[in-house]
């Protein structure tokens, strides 16, 4: 125990599972340990989404696009060693990119189809030739794990390899101890950036539920978590004042209606902008934030659903013109509908369309996503006040996705991608080519002009132009009320001040502070921490 006290161990909960399997294979989507990325396999670059995608160079020291935007070149850092002492070189990077082309399963970022070829230019430059222009692709490329060729070339089946004693370039590569309930991962003896690393080990206790996490947190056993804690001020902070939290804004979430609804009455209503606006005006966004979001979320009144996260890209004109439709205003909504000719013509107590058709729909939310279920329930409460026959349904996620993709549903509540720029949000949510790909574009509303606007964003590297494009996109979506923006979610992040300092926080907003493995910025975070 005294030994453990001597070394500084950072206790984090980067994933919640019922038991740890010793598995550090970075290619596995489901069951690799959450400390694999970044901590074992250092990325080429960490892009800081919070700072407008600012690049922090790690294994690479620079990156740049060719003039035709079809090649991206990474300059590889010198003097880096693998944790087993072998020299790291551009060959390893090349090997890593060849890996993902070999087997689609390894290609977790779905890059293989977009990359024409990868080559080494000179000593230490890796050039990646793209099939199509895509200026946002670097974000994906740097998520490809960079693995040691001398190890992985020996592995027959990289998809089932458990990589129990990993060799990496990251800060914590040594698995000190491992049980199903706890493992400790300690510093890389050959870490190139060791002078910036002040922590000896990471400690990962197995925790399965939020309740367990909270119980452990109250006892002060954890340092860094990103879990949902209800009423955090009352439940955790008051019980253990050395805890703090910071919940910066993340992606947005909206209600959406299906323009191609299979039910004629619903379809008529959904295709009427007045109905969509009225719908939007019945959503008590503040209640959603307070109740479903425990006050952690923020209301999303951007008519395009842009959200707080991308406030710097906002087109104020949109709010000026259409903001009124995205604020809670039951009376206004009622007025809007009655003006548009919605009445209860069949006397069932619910409104009918102007042509007299029945409106009756379910808002679908994935089963088990309880905060979304609550949100949908609050939304439906508003619709019912309005006189619309709506209710909530919670199909299985798989079923829901299928139904949304195939336009076999009426309305839904869904979240969206975030990212460094709003591009991914608009592309996945509003590009008509995505309508049948996933649940995000499931409104099935096709606007060719909007599509070309979105497409043009990746064709330019000029940031002024990019802002202009984004503002136009916002206007088109806002004017059409394609979606019913509801709230912005947050990045959940709690930290314990007691044993470490240097935490990112509202006062020290360095990067997205989340400890989950899909947040590369956590590498910056861990390097910033100092034991007290």
């Amino acid at each position: 125990d005294s030994l453990a006290a001597e070394r500084s161990e950072l206790t984090l909960v980067a994933e919640q599972r019922t038991a740890w399997d010793r598995n550090f294979n970075p290619y596995l989507t489901a069951n690799k340990r959450a400390t694999t990325f970044q901590f074992i396999y250092e990325p080429l670059v960490v892009f800081n989404a919070l700072k407008g995608n600012q690049a922090h160079y790690r294994l690479a020291t620079a990156h740049e696009f060719s003039d035709d935007l079809k090649t991206i070149r990474f300059t590889i850092r010198d003097g880096v060693k693998w944790s087993d002492g072998e020299q790291f070189s551009a060959k390893d990077v090349l090997y890593s990119f060849e890996q993902i082309k070999k087997d689609p399963v390894l290609d977790t970022q779905a890059l293989a189809d977009r990359i024409e070829s990868v080559s080494i230019e000179g000593e230490n430059v890796v050039a990646i030739k793209l099939k199509n222009v895509d200026t946002t692709i670097a974000n994906k490329i740097v998520r490809v794990p960079i693995v040691p060729q001398h190890i992985w070339s020996q592995i027959d089946s990289p998809t089932t390899f458990k990589n129990e004693t990993p060799v990496g370039t990251g800060p914590f590569t040594e698995i000190d101890s491992f049980t199903a309930q706890l493992y400790v991962q300690c510093a890389n003896p050959h870490y190139y950036d060791a002078e910036n690393l002040d922590i000896d080990c990471l400690k990962m206790p197995q925790i399965a539920t939020n309740d367990q996490l909270l119980a452990a947190a109250i006892k002060g056993e954890l340092d860094w978590t990103s879990s949902f804690i209800p009423d955090i001020d009352r439940v955790l902070i008051s019980a253990n004042p050395s805890y703090n939290y910071w919940y910066p804004a993340a992606g947005s979430a909206s209600f959406l209606v299906n323009f191609k609804s299979p039910n004629p009455g619903n379809r008529e209503a959904f295709n009427d902008i007045n109905f969509r606006r009225a719908f939007s005006m019945t959503v008590d966004r503040q209640a959603v934030v307070d109740i479903a979001g425990y006050g952690y979320w923020s209301t999303n009144q951007y008519a395009s659903g842009l959200g707080e996260q991308f406030a710097s890209w906002n087109n104020p004109q949109v709010d000026a013109e259409f903001g009124q439709y995205n604020r809670y205003d039951l009376e206004g909504a009622k007025q809007l509908l009655s003006d548009a000719g919605y009445k209860d013509t069949d006397g069932d107590g619910f409104l009918n369309t102007p042509s007299g058709a029945e409106i009756s729909f379910k808002v679908i939310v994935p089963n088990g996503w309880s905060d979304f279920v609550s949100t949908a329930q609050i939304g439906v409460e508003g619709l019912q006040e309005l006189g619309v026959d709506a209710s909530v349904s919670t199909p299985e996620f798989v079923t829901l996705t299928e139904n949304m993709k195939s336009a076999d549903f009426d309305a839904a509540f869904t979240n969206y991608f975030g990212g460094a720029t709003p591009y991914r949000y608009f592309q996945t949510g509003f590009h008509s080519s995505m309508a049948d790909k996933d649940r995000f574009g499931a409104h099935h509303y096709a606007d060719p002009e909007l599509d070309s606007l979105i497409d043009s964003f990746t064709k330019t590297a000029d940031s002024a132009e990019q802002v202009k494009i984004m503002q136009d996109i916002q206007y088109r979506i806002g004017a059409n009320q394609t979606t019913i923006p509801t709230m912005s979610t947050v990045y959940l992040y709690q930290f314990n001040d007691k044993r470490f300092s240097g935490w990112f926080s509202e006062a020290n907003p360095q990067a997205v502070p989340v400890v989950w493995p899909d947040q590369p910025e956590r590498l910056l975070h861990v390097l910033a921490l100092k034991p007290r």
Partner: protein
């Protein structure tokens, strides 16, 4: 030993039915596990990629009957497939790890309930109508009619969270490594107290009441009166003449009870984050890890069959009429 043979035959049949159910269930359901697993990321995957994943997880295509035979043959080779959620971990490994804990939890809880319940049942019957009987018997029944979930939550809330007397999660403290030491064993015991007690308390009535009722009926038997007339001590008559006979029907319910408890213990495991089959199943269901769910159901059925078999053996041991070809 015809009895045992007959039972074994039955077990085989039951097992086969479980295999068929297991095979059919996921195939009747909408959606496929790979999509489920990929969740929100599906948009980025190409069709080839999903297909490739499907292959790696061992989903066989082809006519149903062919799928069935390949399923059965792998089941009999002990290959229950690969978990999607914990890929590349095999289902057998995952279940193997959890099996022991569940065995321990259900075994300890039920055995305790069986012993204590039976003893209390005997006492209640012996003093029928007395205060002990009129309090303990209905009480145990009421306990039995309360879901384990209620007790689990209550115990968790009171002893684990509010009073913090006992650990409320895990099978042992995370810092310890499993070993055969007093420290470790006592730690495991401490962690088992709440879940085992939850299993125990709900099971209690299930043994107490039948035991009491059997015993009351038995007390009118001539051989009990004869035991008394022989001038044997109360205790001897109660145990050797009464309990020995009254316990027989309870043994049958013991095996049944274990079935219930395996289900019930699941909830207990989930509540107390106990790393047994229940927790595994619960998470497998949440993650729609079909292969794991299937394997789990099969293993739980095997579990039941095993306990049934043990009960059969116990019965054989306790009731000489069976062994010697009588009819009982």
């Amino acid at each position: 030993m015809g009895f045992i043979l007959r039972r074994l035959f039955f077990y085989l049949a039951a097992f086969m039915v479980a295999v068929v159910i297991n095979f059919m269930l996921p195939r009747l359901m909408p959606g496929d596990p790979v999509t489920a697993m990929l969740g929100g990321r599906g948009a980025m995957m190409t069709y080839d990629q999903i297909e490739a994943l499907r292959q790696t997880f061992g989903f066989v295509d082809g006519p149903l009957i062919q799928q069935f035979f390949s399923y059965v043959s792998s089941v009999f080779q002990g290959d229950l497939g690969t978990s999607v959620q914990s890929f590349p971990e095999t289902v057998s490994t995952i279940l193997g790890r959890a099996f022991g804990w569940t065995l321990f939890l259900t075994g300890a809880g039920t055995l305790l309930a069986f012993i204590v319940g039976s003893l209390l049942g005997i006492l209640a019957a012996w003093n029928r109508g007395g205060w002990f009987d009129s309090i303990v018997s209905p009480l145990s029944l009421i306990l039995q009619a309360t879901p384990q979930l209620v007790f689990g939550l209550l115990f968790m809330f009171v002893f684990g969270v509010t009073l913090q007397w006992l650990p409320s999660g895990y099978a042992f403290s995370p810092e310890l490594t499993p070993e055969f030491s007093w420290l470790f064993i006592s730690d495991v015991a401490a962690h088992a107290i709440l879940p085992v007690f939850t299993v125990f308390i709900v099971q209690l009535g299930g043994f107490l009441i039948p035991m009491r009722n059997n015993m009351i009926n038995l007390l009118n038997e001539d051989y009990i009166t004869m035991g008394k007339a022989k001038g044997l001590s109360q205790l001897r008559v109660m145990l050797n003449y009464g309990a020995r006979n009254a316990v027989l029907p309870s043994v049958t319910s013991l095996s049944m009870a274990l079935g219930m408890v395996i289900g019930g213990a699941m909830v207990v495991e989930v509540i107390f984050n106990y790393p047994g089959l229940g927790t595994v199943l619960y998470n497998a269901i949440l993650a729609r890890d079909y292969q794991l769910i299937q394997g789990q159901l099969l293993v739980m059925t095997l579990f039941m069959l095993f306990f049934n078999f043990m009960a059969d053996i116990l019965y054989l041991f306790l009731d000489p009429r069976l062994k010697h070809g009588g009819s009982a």
